[in-house]
Structures are given as C-alpha cells and as structure tokens.
Symmetry: C2
Subunit: 131 residues, 2 copies
DNA sequence: AAAACATGCAACTTTTTAGTTGCGTATTGA
DNA sequence: TCAATACGCAACTAAAAAGTTGCATGTTTT
C-alpha cells in the first residue's frame, strides 16, 4: 500500500476525507459549490455578487474549496475563473456510501440474529464493545 | 412549501447541510463516526480509549456529532452510550448525489452541444455566466 | 493616457473551535 | 461503607477560521 492512503476509511487516514467535509461545512462554501456544479466557470466578482460579504471573504472561501480539491481556478486575462471539480466529491460520496453500507450490513446481521438466534461465537451482541 | 426548507439545495437552506458536513469535517469525529457505523453502542470511556486526547475533548466531539443529528446518546446507569444515527447521513448523501447529478447533467449537455452543434438559444456556453 | 475593472497581498479584529484542567456528582462493585 | 468508575459542568488557554480594510498590481475599455 502506498503512503498516501487511498482506500476508504483507513483508520487514521481520515484526514483527507475530513478536509473535504470541512470545506463543505460552511453555508457560503456550500452555496458556491452548489452553484458551480452546473459546470459553468465563474469569476470571483460574479460569485461575490449575491454573497453578503466582501469579495476578499469570498476569495478565501474559494481558496478553501480549491485546497480541498473541490474546485479549480485558472486565470483568464484579469479575472480568475473557478470551475467545479468532481474527483474529490466522488471520494466523499464513496466514504459516505461506505459508512452507510456498513450500517446496513450491521442491521442485516442484527435482523438474522433476531430471526435465527445467535450465530456461533456471537455472545457479545448488544453489549458495549470493548474493542 | 413549508418554512423549513426540506428540498435539496434550497439556495439559502444550505445551513442544515453545512452543519452535517462541518460535523464530519474533523479527523477525530470522522473516526468516531466511522467506528460507530457498525451499529454498536459505545460509552464515552470506550470511545476515548484509543484517542490521543482527553475524555472531555472526546465528549465535545460527540456533542458536535449529536447536535448534527449524526449520532444519538442515551444514558444507561452511569454511562452514556452513543449510537449511529442514519437519517442525517442519508440527507448528506442525497445532497452530494444531487450536486454530482447536476454536474453529470451539465457534462451531457456539453457533450451534445459539441456533437450536435449549438442548440437554440444556447449562445453563451463556455462563457462566464452573469447569473 | 486615463478610468474602470478584477484581483492579490498583508495586517488586523472578532469569533469559533479544539483541547485542557479542576472539581463535583452519581453509579457500580468489593 | 469505601474505592473505583463514568460522567457532567465551568473556566481557561491556544489556535484556527471568518471577515474586514487598505493598498498595490495587472488588464480592459474608452
């Protein structure tokens, strides 16, 4: 396995995913990201128009999203245009899917436990796990 | 439509989703949430065991996750047990799916634009949108 | 060339977050 | 009963995030 943990939920390699979620964890950034999801490239000035804050503040939010890999910027003439970037979004979705799937699996196992009775070596169900 | 915006991406109702992502936007909380996704209820003490910080710090993280609706707590005797809570997670997934779907749609429209030529009243593609 | 536009950088204030420590209380078990 | 366990609350520090202002720079437009 390479040093850059690329598998889902590497028990400590959560930092990469946390950065993505942290970038989305702000209403302003969420709105910007949502707006850019139509694929249109937009300048900072345009993105600042309907935000109730300074252009500089919007710029900072854009940098956060960019550092998280959720958007990209390229300069055209005097303006910086930001575009949607789907890769990290896919990663975040994969992580949530993984977690949700794990819970579904646990549900199913609990269901068969109730229906079929305890499976072999299954005596600690519904107790606090010591890990 | 009710006052509590329940549809996906209500252009201003992003705060609810932002709270969910913000709660996940921390490596410690992400690890806790991942750990709880197996459906097992765990006490604060157990969850603090392999965290390199104080029990109080872990408690605060648990409160953040709980306020976001991602986990729930119930007290049994002298201990508080936290359990996974799938509802808000589903919301977050739905939001990401919505955004990803919007981008896929934009891609497809761009593809047919390239293949079939500009559609009627479609003269502003690839320009900065003024909104 | 001059004005208007779009942005970047740096310094600053304010607020939030992360984490700690100390202490008090209820619960469990010997 | 006594000690260990599990937790909550409050006060505190330190660091990061959010946002502002002022100014400098490059780019269009007229």
């Amino acid at each position: 396995m390479s040093k850059t943990e690329n598998h889902i939920s590497g028990a400590g390699g959560d930092t990469e995913f946390a950065d993505i979620f942290a970038a989305l964890g702000d209403p302003t950034r969420l709105a910007i990201f949502d707006r850019l999801s139509d694929g249109q490239a937009r300048s900072i000035a345009v993105l600042s128009d309907d935000a109730d804050m300074t252009r500089q503040a919007v710029t900072k939010h854009l940098r956060v999203l960019e550092n998280a890999g959720l958007i990209e910027s390229h300069r055209i003439g005097r303006e910086s245009r930001y575009v949607f970037c789907p890769d990290r979004l896919a990663l975040a979705r994969a992580w949530l899917d993984h977690v949700a799937g794990r819970w579904d699996g646990a549900l199913m196992r609990l269901k068969s436990f109730v229906e079929d009775g305890p499976a072999p070596s299954c005596d600690k169900h519904l107790k606090v796990k010591e890990d």
